[in-house]
Amino acid sequence: MKDLKHLIYFENLLLEANNELVQKAQAEGKVCVAYTCENTPEPLLNLEGCFSARLRAPRTGSLDISTYYMTSFLCEYSRALLERAIEGGYNFADCVITPDGCSMMNRCIENMELLKTMGKDKEKFFFQYMEVPMKADDNGLNLYVLQCKNHILNPLHETFGIDISDAAIRKAVAEFNETCELIRAIGDFRKEDNPRITGYEFNVITLATYVAPKYLLIDKLKETLEELKTREPDEKSRFRARVLVAGSEVDDTDFVKLIEDAGAYVCADRFCYGSLPGRDPIILNDEEDALTQICRIYMNKGECPRFMNTDKMDHRRVYVDQLAKEYKADGIIYQQMKFCDPWAYEKMMGTTILRNKYGYPVLAVDRPYSIGTSGQMVTRVQAFVESIEIKKIHNKGVANG
C-alpha cells in the first residue's frame, strides 16, 4: 500500500508528550489540562480556552527513580509517568485532573504532587482528584455529575476563567464528536476483508487524538479520511488472521506493530487509549443538561474493569463479542500490563469466557509498558496465528465432510 500522507506527522506527535500541537495550542493562550484515565470525561477538558493532553511517556528508558518511589510492583505505566514527571517532562501542563481510577494511577499522581514535579513557574497550577462511580446506576450518575462540577468545571472556571456553561459544554461535545466521527469513519475501513488501513496506522492516528489538541488535528484527519477513500490495498494481504486486541492501557504503537508483523491484523482496538469505545460520539438531547448526559454516557459506555456491578461486568465480555463479530475477528488477544490488578482479573475472566462461552480462540498475554521488539511476544503471537490457521483448516475440513 502507498504510505499515508500524514502518517509520519501523526507519528511525530507521539514522540513527545509536549508535542508540536500542544505547544502551538499553548502559544495561542490555551490551558493544557493533563489527565491520565479514560473515566475523565474528555469534552469537559476541551472547553473553549483549554484542551486535554492524556499523559504518556514515549521512549521510556530507565525507571530507576520512580521504582524507588513506588517499587517494582506497580505497573510500568504509572512508573513511566512518574519518571517522566520527575525528569520534568510534564512541566508544560497547566493542571492535572485525575480520578482514583486505580490505586496505581492514584499513587503515581500523588507522588507527582508530593515530589513537586509539575507546575514550576505556573502560579495557577493545580492537581484535582476525582471520585468516579464504580457502578452504572442513578446514584453513580449523581456522584459523577457532582465530581465533574467540583473537580473539573469549577476549578477550570475559578482558576482559568473557562466558560463552563451548558452552551460551552455542548460546543465542546460537538467538536469532540467531529473527531470521533472521523476516527470512526477511518476505523470502519478495518472491517473490509482486505483492509486499506493497517491496525498500526489506525492506532497511531487514534492515539494522536488523545495526546494533541483535537481542533488542531481535524484537518489532517479529514485529509487522511479522504485519502483512504481512494487508497488501494495490497493485492495480497500480508496478514494471516484478524484479531481484536482487548485489555489494559496501551499507548505503545509498537505493540500493535509487533502483532501485525507477526501476521495478525489488528482489526479492533478495545483497550484503554483505543477507539472502542473511547471514540464513540456523544449524542446529546436538548431536554437535559449536557453535563448530566455526558456523565451518563461515560458511565454507561465505560468498559474499565473497575466497574463492579454484575451487568457491567457481563457487558465487558458481551461488548468484546459484539466487536469481534462486527470487525470479523478470527481471534482475540487479551493483553494486560504487568502488575495491573484490574486487568489481571478481567484478562482471566475475559479469556475464559470468550473462549469457553463464545468459542473464540483467545491469547492472553501480559506485557511491559514499552514492548519494543520482544522476541517472546512475537513467538506467542505467531503461535496464536498458526493455531487460528489450523482451526480454520480444521473447520473447512469438517464443513467439507
Partner: protein, 521 residues
C-alpha cells in the same frame, strides 16, 4: 520452665521439620492452670462443633476445613511468653473469636445446599465479604450475615500458614497473574475450586480494600449469581472517603443495600436493633480509645496482636451485632486497667516503642508477639487498628435515623485497611507521623505487603519522611497469604539484620532469632 516473664528460651519449643511445638509453656502454677483451663474450653467448643454430623460431613468436603485442626496452636502462638493480665486479655479475645468462628461454620454448613441444606435457614442468610463492614446488617436482627471467605481463607491462614497456597495455585492455573494480592486471589481460587458453601438469600459484596479485592469479587459473583441463583448487590463505598462531596453517594449506597436485602429476604429494617448495635459499636470504640490512650504511656497494655486481631474482628465483622463482644470489651478494659495501675510489663524489657504500619503478614500474625519477646520492641499500635473513632448516633429520633445512614456509610468507607490505603496520601503517609508523635514512638515497622499497590506506591515517600523526622524505619516485606514468597524466617531476618546492623543491638531472647518453623502450621 519459668514463672517469670522472659526467663524461658521460647525458641526451644520449636522442632525442625515439625508442624507443631514440642510442648506448651510452664508459666508458673496460676498462669499454667489458667491457660490449661482455657485450652479445655477451646476443646469443648471444638467438641461441640464436631458432634454434629453435618459438620463432620463438611470437614471431609471442604479442603480448608483441615486447617481447623490447628485451632489450639493458633492460640498458643499468640500467647507465647505472656503472663498475668496479658495472657488473660489474649485468651478473652482469642477464645471469643474461636467461639464466633465455630458458630459461623456451623451456620454455614446448616444452610449449605451440599451439607445441611436447611432451606428455611438459608433464606434468612445474607452473604457478606470477608473484608466488609457489616454495618448494613445492624438493623436486621433476624437475618444471619455470614461470610464464606472468613473461614475458608482469612481464618484458615491464621491457623495454617500454607492454607491459601492451594487456592492461589488454582486461580493461577486459570490464568490469574501471580502478582496480584494473594488474599482476593485465594478467595477467587476457593470459588473456582468449587470449595465454597452454597447458601444464602442474597449477597452483599463491597469494593473493600483494593482493586484486586474488587475484581476478585467479580469472580465470586459470577458463580453466585449466574449459577447458584443468589442475587448479588455490589456496595460501592467511595474511595476518597474523607471528602464531603462523596458522603451523599455513600449514604445512598447504604439505602440501596438495605432495600436490596429487604427485597430478597422479606425482612424489614429494625431501627431498635440498629441503635442497640450502634451503642455497642460506640462502647467498643470507647474501649479501643482507652487502650490506645494507655499505649501512649510508658505502660501500654492492649497492644500487638491482642489489639490488631481483636480490632479486625470486633470493628469489622461484628460491628456491634454480637453482645458477647461488649462483655469481652469490658473484661479486657478491666484487665488492662488493673495491669496499668500496677505498671506491669508484658516483657522483661521494653527497648523500643514502635508503630507498625502497612498491612501485616497474615501467615505470621504472631510476629508482633515475636517482636516483643525477641527484641523488646513494643508494637504500640498498627495501621489496621487505627480505624474510625467517630461516635454513632444512638437515640432513635427521626433526625438520627437519617444520621444513622451516614454513620453506616462512614463505617463502610472506613473499613479497616481501606481507611488508610484509600482516601489519598494524607491518611496513609501524613497521619503515620502524627501517630509516631502522639504515641511517643521511636521506631516504625513498615510492612511491605509486596502485592499491595496502594502501599507500595508510597514506598519512597515513607523513607523520605522517616529520614526527615529522624525515626528509624524498617521495611518488612511479605506476600500476605503466601509464605512461599517470603517465609516467616524471611520476615524475621529483615528485623534481625536491621536490629543487629543498624541499631547495633543483641536480642532479648536469642533462641527466637532463627526458628525452624518453615514446616509449621
Amino acid at each position: 520452665m519459668a514463672k517469670e516473664i522472659g526467663a524461658d528460651r521460647l525458641g526451644d519449643f520449636y522442632k525442625e521439620g515439625s508442624k507443631v511445638r514440642t510442648r506448651r509453656e510452664w508459666r508458673g502454677v496460676a498462669d499454667t492452670l489458667y491457660d490449661y483451663s482455657r485450652w479445655l474450653r477451646i476443646m469443648m467448643t471444638l467438641g461441640k462443633f464436631v458432634v454434629k454430623p453435618r459438620n463432620v460431613k463438611a470437614m471431609f468436603r471442604y479442603r480448608w476445613m483441615a486447617n481447623y485442626l490447628a485451632v489450639p496452636m493458633m492460640v498458643d502462638r499468640h500467647t507465647q511468653g505472656l503472663r498475668g493480665e496479658y495472657l488473660r486479655i489474649c485468651h478473652e479475645e482469642q477464645d471469643l473469636i474461636i467461639d464466633d468462628v465455630a458458630k459461623l461454620l456451623d451456620s454455614l454448613f446448616r444452610g449449605d445446599r451440599r451439607i445441611g441444606n436447611d432451606k428455611k435457614f438459608s433464606d434468612k442468610v445474607v452473604l457478606v465479604d470477608e473484608n466488609e463492614m457489616t454495618a448494613v446488617m445492624m438493623g436486621f436482627p433476624t437475618l444471619k450475615a455470614l461470610s464464606r471467605e472468613t473461614p475458608s481463607t482469612y481464618v484458615s491462614v491464621l491457623l495454617n500458614q500454607y492454607a491459601a497456597c492451594h487456592y492461589i495455585d488454582v486461580a493461577q492455573e486459570f490464568g490469574l497473574a501471580g502478582d496480584v494480592c494473594p488474599m482476593p486471589e485465594a478467595e477467587a481460587g476457593v470459588s473456582i475450586d468449587d470449595d465454597a458453601p452454597i447458601i444464602g438469600a442474597c449477597a452483599i459484596q463491597c469494593n473493600t480494600t483494593c482493586d484486586g479485592s474488587l475484581l476478585g469479587n467479580g469472580v465470586i459473583s459470577q458463580r453466585l449469581q449466574h449459577e447458584d441463583g443468589i442475587p448479588v448487590f455490589q456496595l460501592a463505598a467511595p474511595l476518597r472517603h474523607r471528602e464531603d462531596d462523596v458522603q451523599e453517594y455513600a449514604a445512598q449506597e447504604i439505602r440501596n443495600a438495605i432495600a436490596f436485602i429487604e427485597k430478597h429476604t422479606g425482612e424489614k429494617w429494625d431501627w431498635k436493633a440498629y441503635f442497640e448495635c450502634a451503642k455497642r459499636v460506640n462502647y467498643a470504640t470507647k474501649c479501643r480509645m482507652e487502650w490506645l490512650e494507655m499505649n501512649r504511656t510508658p505502660y501500654p497494655q492492649v497492644f500487638g496482636s491482642n489489639l490488631a486481631l481483636y480490632t479486625e474482628t470486633n470493628y469489622m465483622a461484628i460491628c456491634g451485632r454480637v453482645a458477647a463482644f461488649e462483655k469481652a470489651d469490658r473484661k479486657i478494659s478491666k484487665l488492662a486497667q488493673q495491669a496499668y495501675a500496677k505498671k506491669k510489663m508484658a516483657a522483661k524489657e521494653y527497648r523500643h516503642r514502635a508503630i507498625v504500619w502497612g498491612v501485616q503478614s497474615h501467615y505470621y500474625m504472631d510476629f508482633l508477639v515475636w517482636l516483643l519477646n525477641c527484641w523488646g520492641i513494643v508494637p504500640l499500635t498498627d495501621m489496621l487498628s487505627m480505624v474510625s473513632t467517630k461516635m454513632l448516633a444512638t437515640e432513635d429520633t427521626p433526625e438520627n435515623r437519617e444520621q444513622a445512614i451516614y454513620d453506616m456509610a462512614w463505617l463502610t468507607e472506613n473499613m479497616i485497611m481501606r481507611n488508610r490505603t484509600h482516601g489519598g496520601y494524607k491518611v496513609l503517609l501524613d497521619e503515620l507521623w502524627e501517630f509516631v508523635e502522639e504515641f511517643n514512638a521511636d521506631m516504625v515497622i513498615l510492612w511491605e505487603h509486596m502485592s499491595c499497590k496502594a502501599l507500595d506506591g508510597m514506598h519512597g515517600l515513607f523513607e523520605e519522611r522517616a529520614r526527615e523526622k529522624g525515626i528509624p524505619l524498617v521495611w518488612v516485606s511479605h506476600d500476605l497469604f503466601d509464605p512461599r514468597i517470603i517465609s516467616r524466617q524471611g520476615v524475621r531476618d529483615q528485623i534481625n539484620s536491621f536490629m543487629r546492623t543498624v541499631m547495633q543491638e543483641e536480642p532479648l531472647d536469642p533462641s527466637l532469632e532463627i526458628l525452624p518453623d518453615d514446616k509449621s502450621w
